[in-house]
Point group: C2
Chain length 178, copies 2
DNA sequence: GCCGATTCTGTACGCTTGTACATGTACGGG
DNA sequence: CCCGTACATGTACAAGCGTACAGAATCGGC
């Protein structure tokens, strides 16, 4: 038997599940896959999570916490920015660099579409970003910008070439003006 | 043995798969589920489609053909419209009324993100709409509007309340202007 | 040192899955 | 009428699945 470490174990399992969701999707998640990735026996995943839904929900919750932390960086960058649309476009382009992260967030959206209990997660994520942008723009415009950025996200994933940066900046400028 | 009808059978299977993708997602699709929905024996689905990937690809292709047909109606409406943003917003709001259809299109996006062979499908769909809007607006602005509408789609599905119509119209106006 | 509670883990069960395939049936050309 | 070919279908099989659980190991409180 290995050393006891309930919290560490739980965390390792959740992190492994997060990685795997990016790779195979929420629907492709299995106890065995997670256990292998986390380096724990199969029984451990069922001991800490009563069902697969529990496990995926925990992983997605963990993801939103990470994303929320990253949003603080966005807030800081936007606070000190002279050109909000350009800064926002740059942050988004940077974010899309990490395809795994982008896939994860998309998985959250899709999962939320089908599992109502996950909607608060998706909502919180978007609301947070909306709030950050609203500090530098009109609230309705901020909402529109977030919707647009979600579109940029799915567009970037489903196509080979992403929207180019100047166009992104121009669109955000239009949405955030007036 | 029932009467022979290869093409009809194939079509029934594809349609059943389409329905099911809306209900359980691409990843939730199984031969047996499709066979039951289509009212055909299990062997029929494996006879017409060599693998599940083949089957889901065919179903998604069928879906894009349907959507393409609907886009013709959008083109007609926009051609005769005095207020392009308002008309576009109305069409989109109407489209979102059918949650199953919206879920299907989202599934296509997500599937395309993970399966490169499906990307042409997603691309064609978006390009078509872009072309239609570009007839009444600047091409870059049309691209931006399509990206925005994709955002509206995922936003509507992942949340309980969709973006309201006036905001949608206002955002499209901004994106399509100048 | 002892003990109840918690953590750990290997194994087992019943079920569903994708796919293959042998056998049966309809049909169009000769 | 006959026969090769395409279509139809029930069944079988190995693999993977979620989950349950008995028993071993570890720990903190006393």
């Amino acid at each position: 038997m290995t050393k006891r470490d309930p919290e560490g174990r739980r965390r390792k399992i959740v992190e492994a599940a997060g990685q795997l969701i990016a790779e195979v999707g929420v629907a492709g998640l299995t106890h065995r896959l997670v256990a292998a990735r986390a380096g724990v026996p199969l029984g451990a995943t069922t001991y800490y999570f009563t069902s697969l839904d529990d496990l995926s929900a925990a992983a997605l919750r963990h993801l939103t916490e990470q994303t929320t932390a990253e949003l603080d960086a966005w807030a800081a960058a936007l606070d000190t920015s002279a050109d909000v649309p350009a800064t926002l476009a740059g942050l988004m382009a940077d974010y899309l660099t990490d395809r795994g992260q982008a896939l994860l967030d998309t998985e959250l959206y899709v999962a939320a579409a089908r599992r109502p209990e996950l909607r608060p997660l998706a909502k919180e994520w978007g609301d947070r970003l909306t709030g950050i942008i609203a500090a530098r723009a009109d609230p309705a415009a901020a909402r529109a910008a977030v919707v647009f950025l979600d579109g940029v996200l799915v567009h970037a994933l489903a196509r080979d070439e992403p929207l180019d940066l100047p166009e992104l900046t121009a669109s955000l400028s239009k949405l955030l003006s007036g």
